[in-house]
């Protein structure tokens, strides 16, 4: 019986599940499909919970940075505040603008939401805890996360609102520009690992802490910082949150979306943030590697949340860049730096000046 890779860690669960299913007389293929479906549901729930938690966390961190308390009245320090928000958004009327582009308007949040989750197929959550270990894992992530920009563009166009359109256009320009430094800084990692599989990337960083790519001097830290900057832009967060710049574009691309459709954009934004942080943890901070007295998935989550926390601190500290400065920064600073770094890394790699 071949199971999904992740099953090695969740073995007892799937053993039991396949036993139950086989006793009903399903064929092995059906059992496999159902197992994947169950895995998908588990992943989806876990991510949704993480996204809701991140919203709460963001609000608490913002509040404490601003000498407030944030949500306090609903549960311990307002822990179920965002659950209440989600239930409320479910009940809200789904406003459909009369002048919308019907198909585009409808599919934009769906694509945004789905694309946000797709990346987790190849995300190594822990030792042997991955849905599928593609040999092009990182390339796949880069490809599917870019779907978000299509969704935002669709939302901007479909709403038939000038603010939304401006937001969509800004986001397209921004994400396309920042994709390049992001990929270039990821390439330095791939260059050393020699494989695009996420599992290979993590295992190559095992051993002691200085095997982590962030400690590969001199190019590692540079790649990490440039990656983090590009990732912040990719996840549309301050100081690069110009697509939904509240003070200029009211709410940017999601200005005409209400209720659940807005919630989908909202959750997708936080999942994207988690994705880029998880990638940062996997590529530069050794993934799930760590002392074995803590389970590997806990290491992964700890590192990811660390990066998320850093991004939140940045968000609540800095003002927002202007759209042309944002592009200038990408093309005139980040792209040259990341490519120079890539060349440096290549030279070091082939000269063998590394450990």
């Amino acid at each position: 019986m071949t199971f999904p890779v992740a099953v090695l860690e969740l073995y007892p669960l799937f053993r039991w599940l396949s036993g139950v299913l086989e006793s009903f007389g399903f064929s092995a293929n059906t059992v496999l499909i159902i197992s994947y479906a169950v895995l998908g549901v588990i992943m989806f729930s876990a991510l949704s919970i993480i996204a809701l938690f991140l919203v709460w966390w963001e609000r608490k961190i913002a509040a404490h940075m601003q000498q407030r308390f944030g949500p306090m009245r609903h549960g311990w320090h307002g822990w179920y505040q965002t659950i209440m928000d989600a239930i409320k958004l479910l009940q809200k009327e789904d406003v459909r603008v009369a002048s919308r582009d019907k198909i585009v308007y409808f599919w934009a949040p769906v694509i945004c939401f789905v694309a946000a989750y797709l990346a987790y197929i190849v995300m190594p959550w822990g030792k042997n805890l991955i849905v599928a270990d593609f040999n092009i894992g990182i390339l796949y992530i880069m490809a599917v996360t870019t779907f978000t920009v299509i969704a935002l563009l669709m939302a901007g166009w479909g709403s038939n609102n000038k603010y939304a359109l401006l937001g969509g256009m800004r986001s397209a320009a921004q994400v396309v520009s920042y994709e390049i430094p992001m990929v270039a800084s990821i390439l330095t990692v791939i260059l050393f690992v020699g494989s695009m599989s996420m599992v290979d990337i993590v295992t190559s960083q095992s051993g002691w802490i200085f095997n982590w790519f962030i400690f590969k001097l001199p190019f590692g830290p540079i790649a990490f910082v440039t990656y983090l900057i590009a990732a912040t832009a990719e996840a549309n967060r301050t100081p690069f949150d110009i697509p939904e710049a509240e003070q200029e574009l009211v709410a940017g691309f999601n200005i005409e979306y209400s209720g659940m459709k807005f919630a989908m954009f909202f959750l997708a934004e936080f999942i994207n943030m988690f994705t880029v942080s998880a990638l940062a943890a996997t590529l530069f901070l050794g993934g799930w590697n760590g002392w074995s007295f803590i389970p590997s998935w806990a290491w992964f989550l700890m590192k990811t949340f660390g990066v998320v926390f850093l991004m939140m601190l940045i968000r609540w500290t800095y003002p927002r860049l202007r759209v042309d400065q944002l592009m200038e920064f990408a093309w005139k600073f980040l792209v040259p730096v990341t490519f120079a770094n890539l060349i440096l890394a290549a030279v070091i790699k082939y000269a063998g000046w590394h450990w």
């Binding site: 609000r59 509040a63 601003q66 000498q67 407030r68 308390f69 944030g70 949500p71 306090m72 009245r73 609903h74 307002g78 505040q81 659950i83 209440m84 928000d85 239930i87 409320k88 479910l90 009940q91 809200k92 009327e93 789904d94 406003v95 509240e246 009211v250 709410a251 999601n254 200005i255 005409e256 979306y257 209400s258 209720g259 807005f262």
Partner: protein, 171 residues
């Protein structure tokens, strides 16, 4: 919202539908009451007090209230400040743009009855209840942040007491 609007019709017919309804109502209205997102709408003096209420000392966020800039995503208009005859159609438009269920708090004397001073003004709308339905009135010129918070808590109580059947009839 479409589905939830139809729910009462189905559940009421079920045996024990009343019990299902009340628990559902409790859950849904609890959620609504606990996450009131208000529209960033302020015209005059009360808007400054609204900002102060959002700030550190009073902190709206404790009640789960955050501001949204677009009316589509807001549940609540806190009409803070004088509404003039020129502004009245725009306020109506904002209210129409909001997604149901939506609530209105009239903050300050001007929104309640044209204000303590503007009764002989030619351009002030004498009370916003001529334009949009109001749920909670908060008197004061301008009301203190504490009274605004009190008004919001009153609104939450009011939402919790609603019945799903009310929505049915509204439609």
């Amino acid at each position: 919202m479409g589905l939830i609007k139809k729910l009462p019709v189905y559940t009421e017919k079920m045996p024990g539908g009343g019990i299902v309804m009340t628990s559902l109502e409790a859950a849904l209205h609890n959620a609504q009451a606990k996450s009131l997102w208000y529209l960033l709408f302020g015209t005059a003096c009360c808007a400054i007090e609204l900002m102060c209420t959002g700030a550190s000392r009073y902190d709206f966020d404790r009640l789960g209230m955050i501001f949204r800039a677009t009316p589509r995503q807001a549940d609540l208009i806190i009409a803070a400040g004088t509404i003039t005859k020129k502004m009245a159609p725009r306020l109506r438009l904002l209210y129409d743009q909001m997604a149901e269920p939506r609530y209105v708090i009239a903050m300050g004397g001007c929104t309640i009855k044209g204000g303590p001073f503007y009764y002989d003004s030619y351009s002030v709308e004498k009370g916003i209840d001529h334009i949009i339905p109001v749920d909670v009135y908060i008197p004061g010129c301008p009301p203190r942040p504490e009274s605004l918070l009190e008004g919001c808590i009153t609104l939450q109580e009011k939402i919790k007491k609603q019945s799903l059947l009310d929505w049915q009839e509204k439609d």
